[in-house]
C-alpha cells in the first residue's frame, strides 16, 4: 500500500459539504480505518459476536437483534453515567469545539468536529429516548438506528483519541471522551471493535501486558537492560521481578520493555531508582501500566487494572510507583481507586529518600515517577550534569491524559530544566491543558490507518516544526508510551530531524551515578556532543 505524501495530505478542504448533515454514511477508504478485531481475541476475552469480518464489508454479520441490543445498551448506560445522559441533553451547538479537534484540523471532515461526533449518538438518543425526537423525527434532529448509522459510529468513534481537548473549550464541559467511551461500549456489544485494541487486551489478560511478553521474557529483557547499564557506567543496578517484601511495586507501560525509544526510558528509571537506593520490584504478572481495556469498556478496564492492586497485595509492598504513560495515568489517577480500591493493605506513599509524603496520592497509593523524581531533584538528591544532553535542543509534549486528566504539568518540566540546558516550549495554544494529541491515542496506533494518524497528528507536528525553525529543536521529550511509538513516525513524516525521548531517558543521560566510570556515549549509544 503506497503511503500518501505530505503534500497530498495538506490539501485540506475545510468547506463543509453543500448537502445538509448527516449526509452520506462513512466511506471506508484504505488508510483511514483500523482492521476489525480478530475472532480469536474476542473469543479469548468472552466478547460478543466473534467472527471474520472487515469494516469495508457490506455485511458486518451483526446479530439478528443487533438494534435491540444497542438500544438496550444505551438505555442501561443512560442510567449508569450522568456524564453520558447530561451530554446527550445540554449541547447548544455553539461550535466552540469545532476546530479544537486534531482530527478535524487534519482532515477537514465536518463529522470530526466534536459537536457532530457526539451528534452521531445524540441523534439516535433523541429518536428512542426523548418525546420530541419520537414525535418529530428529523425535525427534532432525531434519526433511526440503521446499519449505516452503526457503520458511521464505528468509523468516527474509532477516529477519536479520547484526548479531551474539545472539553477544555466547551462552556458546559461536555467531554467527547465520555461519549466515545460509551459509543465504543455499544459497538462492542455487537462485536464491532478493532484489532489494535482487542489484541493487546487479550495479550494483557493472558500474559499481564499488551505486548504478550511472558514472565521469562520479561526477566530476560530486564537482565539485558541491566547489562547495558553496566557496560555504559560500570555500575550493576538491581532489577528484581516478583520479589516479595520490597517496599515499592514499580509498574510501567510494557512498551518500555520492548519498543524504541521507550526502552531508553526504562534505562533511565533503572538508573534513577538505583541512585536513590529505592527498594522496589517489578512484577511480571502486573507488567502493564497501560490499559487498552479502557478503549473497549469500563468493565475490561477494571479487569486489566485489577492486577496492579492484586499484585501489590501479594508481594506485600507499601505503595505503587508508576512509569511514563498517558492513558495509564488517566486510569491510575481517576479510575483505579474507584474500580479496584480501596487499597487498604497499602500505606500512604512516602519517599524513602526525602521523606516527602505524597499526600495527593494518600488513598490510591500510586505515585507518578515524574512526581517521585521531581521530588528527588527538588531536594538535591540527584547529581545531574545537563551538559550531557547538550546535543539536544528539547521541547516537551504534554500527553493528553496527564495534562487534562490529572494536571501533571510542572513535574516533567522541572525534570527537563534540571537535565537539559536547552529547553524550549511550543506555542501556548498547543501545550499544557491545550496540548494537541499525537493522533494515535486510544488504541488507534496501527499501521493500516496510517493516513488518519498522520492527519490527526498534523497540528502537533506543525507546532514542533515551529520550535524547530525558531530554536533548532531536535528532540521532543514526552511521558507517554503511545507518543514514543507514534511521534517518531509522525515527526519524520511532517518535520524531519526531530527525535523522540522519554523524560527519564534525559534524566538518565544527565544523572551522575555514584562510582560510575566516565561514559563513552549516551543511553542510545551515541556520542555525547
Amino acid at each position: 500500500m503506497a503511503e500518501p505524501k505530505p503534500d497530498e495530505l495538506v490539501q485540506i478542504d475545510y468547506a463543509p459539504p453543500h448537502a445538509p448533515w448527516p449526509g452520506p454514511g462513512a466511506q471506508f477508504r484504505k488508510g483511514t480505518y483500523s482492521h476489525a478485531g480478530a475472532a480469536k481475541n474476542l473469543k479469548y476475552l468472552g466478547l460478543p459476536n466473534p467472527r471474520d469480518w472487515q469494516p469495508p464489508d457490506a455485511d458486518w454479520k451483526l446479530p439478528e437483534n443487533w438494534r435491540e441490543i444497542v438500544i438496550q445498551g444505551m438505555r442501561e448506560r443512560l442510567e449508569k453515567y450522568r456524564s453520558f445522559r447530561l451530554f446527550m441533553d445540554i449541547c447548544v451547538r455553539c461550535g466552540a469545539c469545532a476546530d479544537k479537534c486534531h482530527f478535524y484540523l487534519g482532515t477537514g471532515d465536518p463529522r470530526n468536529m466534536p459537536v457532530l461526533r457526539a451528534e452521531l449518538l445524540r441523534s439516535v438518543y433523541r429518536r428512542y429516548f426523548t418525546p420530541a425526537g419520537r414525535a418529530l423525527g428529523r425535525l427534532a434532529g432525531a434519526r433511526d438506528l440503521t446499519v449505516d448509522v452503526l457503520k458511521e459510529w464505528f468509523y468516527y468513534f474509532y477516529q477519536c483519541t479520547e484526548c479531551r481537548r474539545c472539553s477544555v473549550y466547551c462552556p458546559f464541559g461536555i467531554d467527547t471522551a465520555e461519549v466515545t467511551m460509551v459509543a465504543r461500549e455499544l459497538l462492542n456489544l455487537v462485536g464491532c471493535n478493532i484489532n489494535w485494541i482487542v489484541e493487546p487486551v487479550a495479550n494483557c489478560q493472558r500474559t499481564g501486558n499488551h505486548l504478550g511478553i511472558q514472565p521469562h521474557g520479561f526477566k530476560d529483557t530486564l537482565d539485558f537492560a541491566v547489562d547495558e547499564i553496566a557496560e555504559l557506567t560500570g555500575i550493576r543496578v538491581e532489577a528484581s521481578v516478583n520479589r516479595k517484601g520490597a517496599e515499592i511495586l514499580f509498574v510501567a507501560p510494557s512498551a518500555d520493555f520492548y519498543g524504541t525509544p521507550h526502552y531508553y526510558t526504562l534505562l533511565g528509571y533503572l538508573m534513577v531508582l538505583h541512585e536513590a537506593r529505592v527498594d522496589y520490584t517489578f512484577s511480571a504478572y502486573a507488567s502493564e501500566g497501560g490499559n487498552f481495556g479502557m478503549f473497549v469498556s469500563h468493565e475490561l478496564m477494571q479487569r486489566l487494572n485489577a492486577k496492579i492492586y492484586a499484585e501489590a497485595r501479594r508481594l506485600g509492598v507499601k505503595w505503587v510507583l508508576g512509569g511514563e504513560c498517558g492513558h495509564m495515568w488517566r486510569v491510575l489517577h481517576q479510575y483505579m481507586n474507584t474500580l479496584n480500591g480501596p487499597p487498604d493493605f497499602l500505606e500512604p506513599p512516602v519517599s524513602p529518600v526525602t521523606g516527602t509524603v505524597f499526600s495527593n496520592a494518600r488513598s490510591a497509593c500510586a505515585v507518578h515517577i515524574c512526581e517521585f523524581t521531581a521530588d528527588l531533584v527538588a531536594h538535591g538528591k540527584l547529581r545531574l550534569e545537563p551538559a550531557r544532553n547538550d546535543r539536544f535542543a528539547v521541547t516537551f509534549h504534554d500527553s493528553c491524559n496527564t495534562a487534562r486528566g490529572m494536571g501533571l504539568l510542572e513535574e516533567p518540566r522541572l525534570l527537563l530544566r534540571a537535565a537539559c540546558n536547552r529547553f524550549f516550549e511550543m506555542p501556548e495554544n498547543t501545550i499544557r491543558e491545550r496540548t494537541l494529541c499525537c493522533g494515535s491515542g486510544a488504541g488507534l496506533g496501527g499501521d493500516e490507518n496510517f493516513e488518519t494518524r498522520m492527519r490527526g497528528g498534523l497540528p502537533r507536528a506543525a507546532a514542533v516544526r515551529q520550535v524547530k525553525e525558531a530554536h533548532g529543536v531536535n528532540l521532543l521529550a514526552c511521558i507517554c508510551a503511545i507518543d514514543k511509538a507514534s511521534l517518531p513516525k509522525l515527526l519524520d513524516y511532517w518535520v524531519g530531524g526531530v527525535e523522540v525521548a522519554g523524560v527519564h531517558e534525559l534524566v538518565g543521560n544527565a544523572l551522575v551515578i555514584e562510582g560510575e566510570k566516565p561514559r563513552a556515549t549516551d543511553l542510545r549509544g551515541e556520542a555525547y556532543v
Binding site: H35, P200, G217, F224, F257, Y258, G259, H262, G445, A485
Partner: protein
C-alpha cells in the same frame, strides 16, 4: 481470511500479510514471504537475522526487542533496514513467520 500465494503455495495470513500460524514456518516459507518484502534473495546475512528472531520467538513466544536484535546479531539498525526495507519489527518478523507486535509500539 486473506491469503498470500507464492510459487503456487498458499498461506493464510492476517490483514497485514503476516503468517497466521507461526508453527507452519520453514525455510521455504521464509523465502516465499521474503518475496513480499522486497527481499530478492535470502543471503547469509538475512538468515542470521531470521534465525535469531525465530529462535527467540520459540523461546519467548514474542519477537525480541529491536535493541536486542541489533546487539546480538551484530548488525547495525541501518544494516537491518538494508536487509529488510520495512525494518526489523515488520519485514524481518514477517519473513521469520512471527506475529506482529501490537500495543504502544
Amino acid at each position: 481470511m486473506p491469503k498470500y500465494e507464492h510459487d503456487g503455495r498458499i498461506y493464510e495470513v492476517d490483514e497485514d500479510g503476516f503468517l497466521q500460524e507461526p508453527d507452519l514456518w520453514n525455510e521455504t516459507v521464509a523465502r516465499d514471504f521474503a518475496a513480499s518484502e522486497d527481499v530478492p534473495e535470502m543471503t547469509d546475512a538475512h538468515w542470521v537475522v531470521v534465525n535469531y528472531l525465530r529462535n527467540y520467538y520459540l523461546q519467548f513466544g514474542i519477537a525480541p526487542m529491536v535493541r536486542k536484535v541489533v546487539k546480538e546479531t551484530g548488525f547495525k539498525l541501518t544494516q537491518i533496514y538494508e536487509l529488510f526495507p520495512s525494518g526489523p519489527a515488520k519485514g524481518a518478523c514477517k519473513v521469520a513467520g512471527l506475529p506482529k507486535p501490537t500495543g504502544c509500539v
